[in-house]
Symmetry: D4
Subunit: 159 residues, 8 copies
């Protein structure tokens, strides 16, 4: 059963957003990845959220650039966590997407990641699911340990 829905605002955003999917694959979590824009396909976006509600999707990850309304628009309709990934696109290095995604008004949060932080979006989705899944939580601890050991190995090579 799919637990996470990943929506990229455009096909040019797919390459970056795939990193969220890779993490979910690594943790063995089923997900769907698709494309929809808050501005160019508002109906489709709305339908995707309705479908996600019906299919009992637990987390939606949305990645968009420029005036990035996608995560906010989804968060306005979806009752469970929405993770927003501001994407570097156009000339402002993603600062426009960052503020459009993060500065949500009281009542409708978007869990915002770093600019282009799709990998972390995947990890946060895993952490959210792990709040009710002890085995998954254990996998995160192992993932962290590997990360820490990788640092140590690199510093050993240095000498």
């Amino acid at each position: 059963m799919k637990k996470v829905l990943i929506i990229a605002a455009s096909d040019s955003d797919l390459e970056v957003m795939c990193n969220a999917g890779k993490i979910l694959d690594e943790f063995g979590i089923e997900y769907e990845m698709t494309i929809s824009s808050a501005h160019r396909s508002p109906e489709r976006t709305k339908e995707l959220v309705e479908k996600a509600k019906n299919e009992e999707i637990k987390v939606i990850i949305a990645g968009a650039g420029m005036a990035a309304h996608l995560a906010g628009v989804i968060a306005a309709e979806f009752p469970l966590p929405v993770i927003g990934v501001p994407l570097e696109s156009g000339v402002l290095s993603g600062v426009d997407a960052l503020l459009s995604t993060m500065q949500m008004p009281p009542g409708v949060p978007v869990a915002t990641m770093a600019i282009n932080g799709s990998k972390n979006a995947g990890i946060l989705a895993v952490q959210i699911l792990a709040t009710s899944d002890e085995a998954l939580k254990q996998k995160i601890v192992e993932f962290r340990n590997k990360m820490s050991m990788a640092v140590q190995e690199k510093s050993l090579k240095l000498k």
Copy 2:
């Protein structure tokens, strides 16, 4: 017959947004002013746009602060001009609203005004209507002349 719809994202935005209405009054243009949020009342926002289409509204003016998605969300559904007014709200002096309103992706423009520039939103709406109304165009020329004479009068007082 109403020609312009003004939407403020929250009641705290009404005071600033009223300046758009005052200009429309000054030029004798009928309008409706209401409140709706892209995030807290997405359904209502959608319905307002549908109603505007049916009532043959020519221009929508939308004012919002922070991650200001209102104008963009309306522009995604409304085929005629949408004017966005980024509002100073929260701690970032409206820079978040500015980028969220203006940095729209290709295909869905929002005619963006200065931060808190609701008066100019009213004037632009008049200018748009004046493209097919010679008398209105003449009124704009007079409005400009008065503005220019006010500068001259102030500089005379200076001496």
Copy 3:
């Protein structure tokens, strides 16, 4: 009869500004495209605005970079809508042009697009003309539908 005048501040801005023209072509709207600078050719700029008034041009689109005064200077003389496109030029990614174009004082609006947003400038010009042209309005609805379907097709390919 020409309805839109496009002015690029320099020949190096033509490539980006052409996207406004392409949209007007797509919608079958006649326009003129030319070059003039607020700073290097102020007389010529003034004359172009006078000529536009006489020829009953309905909308002027102006694109400029850096301290982008072009749209504002035109808006000070032209009674109908002026659309400003801040261009990425020099080292500040167009942020200087954005603020110089958008932060107009009360009384003289410039309908500001995203940085390099010349395509949207063209669309907004069409929308403005469509406020008095039902057929054009219908074309915008179709244009939007195509845009929405293109998103759907791309997401189908994804699977």
Copy 4:
């Protein structure tokens, strides 16, 4: 049983951070609120995270200003979701805290809220818990409906 731990970086941050607690109260979720700094009391911060792990806390909310390391430092040690609230403090309006909280490197996400967005931090914590609690999810839907109706009521008063 407590499910959420709220940590404010200093007693001057308590007033803002209390809004997260109020939301948790409103949804009937038990939590603990305390003070600890990543810089002035690093040991205490570490111990709080260890204790949170042992007590099976599901979500930690951390609020800090300036070079806001608190959420990141906690996220480095805690396997479940960490929500970061950048606080307006000092002279930079919270932009320093925003970037220090959000720009986390790949591997260690912090779910970042708007500047001073402690109310949304509370709501996101509820949403995270609701991924495994159908009744809570229902409460969020009701909370959203009330929010939407409040907008409608305010706009009725307008007329």
Copy 5:
């Protein structure tokens, strides 16, 4: 004979711009101070520049806020030095005025001062006139000496 023309973009800018005049008074230089806007009174601005050329004005000082086009528009028509003072006005602390004044394209310089730096605009005008007036140059040296001694006196009080 008047040698300097000071133009404030609006009467609300007069208080700050007066500091330029005070310095000119202090150095015994005749000047005229007036009000004109690049946007609200473009004709008047053009006439003032023409008059300044005829009256052999040597330096024009222009102060404006927001999308501050005044100094640039004057510099496009006036062959001698134009000093621009970006003014804090509106919500962006004068950063918009700064970039609109300073980021002039090659060919048309504006000698830009700090935000609200009208006192320094006066001093620079004196320095420009002093390039051909030995007595004035001597006065600047004395002005500097006084400034330096004032620092010394303040530090003596400290002890």
Copy 6:
């Protein structure tokens, strides 16, 4: 007799700063160009200013990047106009140099150009000298006319 001294803060800044010299050559004004840093060679910088005073240099142009103190340090010692050119250098696109050059305290102005605006620095130096040289002023008028005609020619090619 040399009238202008151009100082580049480092040899890597020479390429950009040469554009100031080219303009002076074009107007037939003698100048000296050299290298000195406010930080790496403070004594040399001081000596250059002393020498400039003795040689009756009328204008100093200083170009520097990053924490660009060069123009300010020279302005503190030189009684006549100092023109500062903030240079793009390092990772901040010259914004650091811009603020370090322009935000001078009351009493010590630096006539600041656009980032990398060395050509305009040359033109401003000419304008300053032209305040007491009618022939030079006439040359500026011709220079402007050529600039304006170049715009017209480019727009003719367009058709």
Copy 7:
């Protein structure tokens, strides 16, 4: 024997800069506090550095606002550590001072503190002296412990 010299760029900066002195008092370190500006009193600044060299001052702390050249100018002449405190002054919240102080070119470091971070400047001066003074180092450890305990006490009061 005095070991630290504190220089405020103006008497209006004394109030903030005093916090550096208070810390030095608390650690029993002798210091001198004075006023001098890089721009208004360059000679005095130079003499103060010469005197500091002769008196075997170990650390200089310099606080300045706007185009804050003071710390950099001192660092160019003083061979031992210079600590820079960018001060909030004028309209840019100290961002101008921050970049002017911190973005020093390779070869001449300034140890930069947070905006208005004079207390930390005092602590860093103590830490520098503690690199050769075991007793002082011990005092820093105690200072830190007190700071950590203060956090704990505040959190106890919370309950």
Copy 8:
């Protein structure tokens, strides 16, 4: 005996951070260089600081990008000077790292260098050690003289 510890937050930061080591080599100061992250290897970071305390390391230099917590986290535990180098990494040109490193709260200073300013970090470490080492201080004076002469030589070549 090693006196300085250099920690890079990741192996991709080594190339820039090596410049600190080169300077220490040039001044004959022994140091250790290693890799550790505040987020991916918090335990290792803590152990490195403990080891540094035991080995009587005098100065720690830490370089990190994005939400650069490394220097601050070390400063919270280490009683002697910590020098932070904000690194350009990701899409924000190091501005995120700058604010995360520099905006430390009162009580825990980090001596912050320019973005990528690792060479200056090395020099500041030498200056700190030179406060109790007259020979080292003499070497800094010579280093400065060479730097100043290099400027002079480059300017001679210019002629």
